[in-house]
Symmetry: D2
Subunit: 146 residues, 4 copies
């Protein structure tokens, strides 16, 4: 699937996504990048973007790389997500880049790095495990875990 197709598929399935300010920006064989547009109402006390905003972005980036690689499987679900918040993000868009650590038949383990679009500094890092429904189409996985 292309970036636009992945974006549309998530939009269709998840009403909250459309309002989240997220957009699947690029899809390459190795990575998928999701942009989250900066919005004032996601700020928390102290002027920082809230943790949940970044968790949602990380989860979206993981879902996007699953879709981009395996095609439109709506039932892939997050099993585990671990996120480290590294620095207070600037008031700017965020870019979340996902890549597979492992893509197996039943589960995928994905790494996401969230950077500020202002200066590319690393704002948060997440790893997550997605369960892949049996019968999902298999992409060509050559090199996926490299």
């Amino acid at each position: 699937m292309t970036a636009a197709e992945v974006d549309q598929f998530i939009c269709d399935g998840l009403p909250a996504y459309a309002e989240s300010g997220c957009m699947v920006e690029t899809v390459t064989p190795e990575t998928t990048t999701v942009r989250m547009r900066y919005r004032d109402d996601q700020l928390r006390p102290g002027g920082s973007l809230s943790g949940p905003t970044m968790m949602a972005l990380a989860d979206t980036a993981m879902y996007a790389i699953i879709l981009a690689t395996l095609g439109p499987i709506g039932l892939a679900v997050t099993q585990n997500l671990n996120i480290n918040f590294l620095q207070k993000p600037k008031p700017a868009d965020l870019l979340a880049e996902a890549r597979f650590l492992r893509l197996g038949r039943r589960a995928a383990v994905i790494d996401v790095q969230i950077r500020s679009a202002a200066d590319a500094s690393l704002v948060a890092q997440a790893t997550g495990t997605y369960a892949i429904p049996s019968g999902a189409p298999r992409a060509d996985l050559a090199g996926a875990s490299a």
Copy 2:
């Protein structure tokens, strides 16, 4: 702080919270419980509540127990959050119960269990680390890590 005071404090500081359907429900010396009201638009494909919805709930419950115990310190920030999604939640309210695993001077480690209000089944479990700003008021911590 009482449950109502914690709820108001989060509401004042974080506009997105007011729209999230969350409410700090009970505060006891050991635990803080946050209810998330069920809303259709948080559903993801397959009819389940989305992962980010539950991550936001877990983070809110952690923030709420910090506030309930240490008072109004708006600048406590999440450093790390690890969440396990255990079963597909029913279309019903969720209840997140937070308790301290450790409450130290510089950091708190908090466990959150999210249950369905329909049948009390365990839906997700999270642990997180919050950084506590220096100079924050200290609660009486006797037994906090027991």
Copy 3:
């Protein structure tokens, strides 16, 4: 399996376990407890038990509850482990208590609390996911995820 049977099964399969000072102590329908005897040579600078010592203990307790509940399935493997170190353990035995957060057909999610045998204070907390080989015998899971 009884505590002694689980202990023997791990011993037979994993030579390092025999030297680790660990022993499966109790098995109940809800929890499995593993004791790690205190040994000076696991100390790290500052006089504390090393992190890896406690990680090994947490992993052993997870494996033990899998065996105690599902029987002798040697091929269950850890997929993910997240551990929070809460306080410097005293020079004393440690007790790791494991319980299921979820026991599904393909995976189990397990919580482990590690306490000092000296004063029952909480020293570390871990959650982990174990993959269960297909064809493993099923225990009666009623209430296992309660």
Copy 4:
């Protein structure tokens, strides 16, 4: 500190390390690599290296990059470690490469990738948080979190 100095420092402080088959192999401004020599007695049922063996290796690599960057601070302690086991390692040496995701004054967040020395395939990935004692010497951190 050089690789040999870091290796010697860990050896002196932690008797178990000397027997673990680990060796700090390279130290560069960006990464620190620790090799774990293959030993039969760390095998678990199924012929795989045990999880605790890889957890210990990940933790050692984190400690090594702290020492290599900040100098001989024996009291840095692990606060949190999250590890994903990605594939069954081959019977061969393992190489753990650590790099900072963030190096702050009070805490460092570190990513570790463990690969098989046989074919460089990714075997496990870990992230961890280390608490840095106040008063520790500060390295030149330019670019450390890039």
